[in-house]
């Protein structure tokens, strides 16, 4: 009889990469649901487009690289990238935005760097930044929450808008963004930025209809929904607490300091926490293991860095939201962070870096 020879350990936790990726994707569901509720189900169409594009691009490149296609598609990493990008871009953005962005994320950012595990940047965020810089108008055309829209949406409207840039009734996106009073509405972060630039104070700006007591209308609930999904991920031990906590704490501290110093010019920490993509970034994007720091201490640094960069870029940068830029900048710093945050090995006294210089 022949016996199987194997190297120890012979036991495994049975937590596999594909399961991890799938769980993270599933944890997006509350957030997506909230987005559907406030901004229409166009986001589902975007997700569909993104996933199809991601799989196709991944398969194509794997084929070109002469790698096994199916096992790698099954690791669900492309699926997750596609979903994250799709929920991050405006729901009514034209189809080529998401198709081009996803293809860029998979082919350029991920596969050309060596595939899963080898990319320097978070693929979804790198694609987002590429799109934002290349197509700023399309990438900032968020519709106001349905509750504030003048024209009620029909079932087919998302499809018409995504593929033709006009609603089925023939309204353009700009028309769709106009409220009952004929005012063009932007996202809360955008509105605030515009108002501050126009010389208004924050309390004055917060009088706008896109705001309510918890920040931007709709956006606060979307963020809370992503927070819920994130907490579930923590409970499932799919992600570790360090990066999300450090990110949220970093953002809170930075925004609190500014807010306490000049409340007229700065939004409250709560507003920052519940606006834009904060929660999505904290639990779903910054926690992407491939492009994040790997040491326990390094993850705290990495998370805090993103949190502070989000505030700084939101407050002083040219674009309304800052998550993608902050994450990419932090990605760049990862090798440095990892090198200087190596843990002390058992039985070793001196910190490993001390002897290096």
């Amino acid at each position: 009889m022949s016996f199987r020879i194997a190297s120890s350990p012979h036991h495994h936790s049975q937590q596999h990469t594909s399961v991890l990726m799938r769980t993270v994707t599933l944890a997006c569901i509350p957030g997506i649901a909230a987005q559907c509720y406030f901004f229409g189900y166009a986001v589902l169409l975007q997700i569909l487009l993104a996933v199809v594009t991601a799989w196709a691009s991944e398969a194509l490149v794997l084929k070109l690289r002469a790698k096994p296609v199916l096992p790698r598609l099954k690791d669900n990493s492309a699926l997750l990238t596609a979903v994250l990008l799709a929920v991050a871009i405006p729901s009514y953005a034209p189809w080529w935005i998401i198709v081009g962005g996803t293809a860029f994320a998979i082919i350029i950012v991920k596969q050309l760097y060596g595939g899963l595990g080898n990319n320097l940047f978070n693929p979804a965020m790198a694609a987002y930044v590429m799109l934002l810089i290349s197509f700023p108008q399309q990438m900032t055309s968020w519709l106001p929450p349905q509750q504030l829209q003048a024209q009620p949406q029909s079932i087919a409207d998302p499809v018409c808008a995504v593929f033709t840039n006009f609603s089925c009734a023939g309204y353009s996106l700009t028309q769709l963004k106009t409220d009952a009073d004929g005012m063009t509405m932007a996202t809360p972060l955008d509105t605030l930025k515009t108002d501050l630039a126009a010389g208004r104070t924050v309390p004055e700006s917060l009088q706008q209809p896109v705001f309510d007591s918890l920040g931007g209308v709709g956006w606060n609930w979307v963020n809370l929904a992503y927070l819920l999904g994130g907490l579930w991920l923590l409970q499932q031990k799919v992600i570790q607490w360090r990066i999300p906590l450090a990110l949220l704490v970093g953002l809170t501290i930075a925004s609190s300091l500014a807010w306490l110093m000049s409340p007229d010019l700065n939004a409250s920490p709560l507003f920052h926490l519940l606006s834009g993509g904060t929660m999505l970034a904290a639990f779903f994007i910054a926690t992407d293991p491939v492009s994040a720091s790997t040491t326990p201490k390094g993850r705290l640094v990495y998370g805090a860095l993103i949190g502070m960069l989000i505030f700084i870029i939101r407050r002083y940068g040219g674009f309304p939201d800052a998550v993608a830029f902050a994450v990419m900048l932090a990605n760049l710093a990862v090798p440095l962070i990892d090198y200087y945050t190596r843990p002390r090995t058992y039985g070793h006294r001196a910190h490993p870096n001390k002897g290096d210089r």
Partner: protein, 805 residues
């Protein structure tokens, strides 16, 4: 602030970094009593079952052995013996698959049990009166080595005399499935405590900490009950977490201390012993039962009766499994040890050894075979669970890159190979396997480096020695040359003084006649001129000798001859011509020498050849024709020898050979034409003998002897040459044969690596001596030659043992 001891006493526990919680699966065996099994057909007792060296075998195939009888003898401190697990006969001592991941065969004593279980005589020790060395000796002689897995000889670990604060008894048993220690504590708690008492007697610790995981409630109860009378024995219940049973982890758990990297627990005042070891010590000391059996957990879903078995060391794994109702799957895995750190066995013939605590035969569903390895997604789960606080994914990266510097920087050596990282890795990367390979490569490389260093040191030492010898040779030769020069100068002075005295005498005689006659003045001038010529010639000859960088003793002595010869024959014209030719040749030879690689040794050749030539020339005075022929032959040979020399790599022996041979030749030439017939006969005999000597020599590996062969051959040649004067034809043939032989011998020499130069001196001298005798009495020459040869042979034998090679 409480002291550490107070904190420990108060029951405080600490934590170590990381760790995992794999399903323990201990219930299947923990509640069952310890099983016993009938004697197996064969027992395979490996000679070495511990870290260290095997003992010396004491038994032979065919011997009958009694239960507990030592099979090996511990011949050094790191050795512990093995014992016959039962009575029976030794069938063989042969290689058998070992309890090692490789299962490479290693020597085992194969015993066929006779079923009588007949014990050897036993001598239990009385703990009250037993002395420390006696206890340690008993622990060693009972063959006890750490039973937790590492197998470190227990008597060494127990020999610490001072500075032991804590004795930690490791009863954690954190690996899934294994319950051998748990059931041991359940059934033998009192014996274990007696073993701990003995360890305390040896180590004298402040406190004894007994660490047990909280998933062994029965064992905890049993141990608490057994230690209730002893205040310093503290049973510490640690939360179940893998790998809390690791030595370093348990120390951290119980005392908050860390063992510094590269040090031992004893350095921080801690000694750790496995609970099974404590049991074995009690048995060895109190009952004189050596370590011949142990409790092993035989478990897995392919077994119908998983259980703990008290099994004899040497029982084949297959027998144990069959006893528990083994129903293997296709491609069954049989693991010796636990699922985390155990190793798979390629054969069920592998015997149970002192460190085997578990035999695991799981089904595929129970412990799924690892899937395909995927790319690392840098999730960092491995770093979260690593008990040594390493960064496993960085280590993986550098292991793959074979970057040994970085591996060292990231402390690969501190990896305890617990497997926690690989257990949690979502990409199913066999991390531990990568680390093992990397560690092996590092070990291999450091071994190679050490080897290279040693070889370099050896090479340098050899070069230094050769250089030293060469310089010593040079110094000696120079000293001799200087001595000779001085002698010559003194002689010259004496002659001048004599001449001056003669002149004074002459002037005294002629003093009455005031004026000297013209003839007298001319004569005086002529005499002065002649003296000056003679002096110049002597000087040039001396210069020729001096110019050659290093001059051997023999060579120098023969080099001195031309001067004398020339001096004495200064009136002879042909002599002057010959001397001139000799000088020219010496010059030429010197130039050729300059191009040669080892000039020093070759240089010795020239004076000799010149000497012979000169001698031949002197002989020419007697018989100009024959001498001319002989001289020509000598020249030709000298030339040939030179060329051959130039090609030879290490020619010490060859170079020195020639002076002797050629000198001999010349002398023989001069002695020629006395008794041609007898000479021819003698030459023939000499040739035959030389041949014989050659063959004998050829068989010997030592080159010195080969080198010494030549003098004989060449002596023969010389004799043949002497025959040439009488019978030119026969002589020519004989000479040709002799030359051919000499050539052959030379080639053999050329191939030999190193020859001692001094060894050849003696035979050469002997040969010369014999030839001189030939010159005196041709008839006795043959006898003399024979004596010379005998002497040469004897000299050979004498020099052989001195051979430095």
């Amino acid at each position: 602030v409480q002291s550490l001891f107070q904190q420990i006493k108060a029951g405080q526990l600490w934590d170590f970094h990381g760790g995992i919680h794999p399903p323990a699966r201990k219930q299947q065996t923990q509640q069952k009593p310890i099983g016993r099994m009938s004697l197996p057909d064969r027992l395979y007792v490996p000679l070495r079952q511990h870290i260290g060296v095997a003992g010396t075998v004491l038994v032979q195939p065919g011997d009958r052995v009694l239960k507990g009888q030592p099979l090996t003898y511990a011949s050094n401190a790191m050795a512990v013996p093995v014992h016959a697990p039962t009575s029976g006969s030794v069938l063989a001592i042969e290689a058998h698959p070992s309890a090692h991941p490789s299962a490479l065969p290693e020597p085992c004593v194969v015993i066929a049990p006779d079923g009588l279980e007949q014990w050897r005589e036993r001598f239990p020790l009385d703990l009250e009166s037993a002395q420390r060395p006696e206890l340690l000796e008993r622990i060693q002689q009972a063959g006890i080595a750490g039973m937790g897995g590492a197998g470190f000889p227990t008597h060494i670990k127990s020999a610490a005399t001072t500075g032991v604060d804590y004795l930690i008894i490791n009863a954690v048993e954190c690996e899934p499935y294994i319950t051998a220690d748990a059931v041991l504590m359940q059934e033998y708690a009192t014996t274990i405590v007696k073993g701990i008492d003995i360890l305390c007697q040896l180590l004298n610790p402040t406190a004894v900490l007994i660490g047990i995981e909280d998933d062994k409630p029965d064992a905890i109860t049993a141990m608490q009950a057994a230690t209730s009378q002893r205040d310093s024995y503290l049973v510490r219940v640690v939360p179940a977490k893998y790998p809390s049973g690791g030595e370093k982890q348990l120390i951290q758990l119980l005392t908050s201390k860390e063992v510094p990297a590269g040090r031992r627990p004893l350095d921080i005042g801690i000694v750790m012993q496995n609970v099974g070891t404590a049991f074995a010590i009690a048995q060895a000391v109190l009952d004189d039962i050596p370590l011949i059996s142990r409790i092993v957990t035989v478990v897995g879903q392919t077994l119908s009766q998983p259980q703990n078995i008290h099994a004899l060391i040497g029982t084949p794994v297959g027998t144990l499994l069959d006893h528990c109702g083994f129903a293997p799957e296709i491609n069954q895995r049989v693991i010796m040890g636990g699922p985390m750190m155990g190793f798979t066995l390629p054969s069920l013939q592998v015997p149970l050894v002192k460190t085997s605590n578990c035999i695991l035969a799981p089904t595929q569903a129970e412990l799924p075979v690892a899937g395909a390895e995927l790319d690392c997604i840098r999730c960092g789960a491995c770093a979260e669970v690593c008990p040594a606080t390493l960064l496993p994914q960085q280590l993986l990266w550098y292991s793959k890159a074979k970057d040994q510097d970085k591996l060292k920087e990231y402390n690969l050596a501190d990896c305890i190979e617990c497997g926690a990282c690989a257990y949690v890795c979502p990409s199913e990367i066999p991390l531990v396997h990568y680390y093992r390979v990397a560690k092996a490569e590092i070990r291999e490389q450091s071994r190679e480096e050490l080897k290279a260093e040693q070889a370099k040191a050896r090479f340098e030492a050899r070069n230094e020695r050769l250089e030293r010898e060469k310089q010593q040779r040079n110094a000696r030769n120079q000293a001799l040359a200087a001595q000779r020069q001085q002698q010559m100068a003194e002689q010259q002075k004496q002659r001048e003084v004599a001449a001056a005295q003669a002149r004074i005498q002459a002037s005294h005689v002629e003093s009455p006649a005031e004026t000297l006659s013209r003839e007298q003045i001319i004569a005086a001038r002529e005499q002065k001129k002649a003296e000056a010529r003679a002096y110049q010639q002597a000087k040039s000859a001396a210069e020729a000798t001096n110019k050659t960088a290093i001059v051997n003793e023999t060579a120098t002595s023969s080099a001195g001859e031309p001067a004398t010869v020339n001096e004495t024959a200064s009136s002879n014209r042909s002599d002057a011509v010959a001397a001139a030719i000799a000088r020219a040749k010496a010059k030429k030879a010197q130039q050729q020498d300059g191009a040669a690689t080892e000039t020093a040794d070759q240089a010795e050749l020239q004076p000799a050849s010149l000497a012979s030539e000169a001698e031949a020339d002197s002989a020419a005075a007697a018989d100009p024709r024959a001498a001319a022929v002989a001289a020509a032959i000598a020249r030709a040979k000298a030339k040939k020898a030179q060329q051959q020399d130039g090609a030879a790599a290490e020619t010490d022996s060859q170079a020195e050979l020639k002076p002797a041979s050629l000198a001999t030749e010349a002398e023989a030439d001069s002695a020629a034409a006395v008794d041609p017939r007898a000479a021819a006969v003698a030459a023939a005999i000499a040739r035959a003998k030389a041949k014989k000597a050659q063959q004998q020599d050829g068989a010997t590996a030592e080159t010195d002897s080969q080198a010494e062969l030549k003098p004989a051959t060449l002596a023969t040649e010389a004799e043949a040459d002497s025959a040439a004067a009488v019978d030119p034809r026969a002589a020519a043939v004989a000479a040709a044969i002799a030359r051919a032989k000499a050539k052959k011998a030379q080639q053999q020499d050329g191939a030999t690596a190193e020859t001692d130069s001094q060894a050849e001196l003696k035979p050469a001298t002997l040969a010369v001596e014999s030839n001189a005798e030939i010159a005196a009495d041709p008839k006795a020459a043959a006898i003399a030659a024979a004596i010379a040869r005998a002497k040469a042979k004897k000299a050979q034998q004498a020099t052989e043992p001195k051979d430095p090679a």
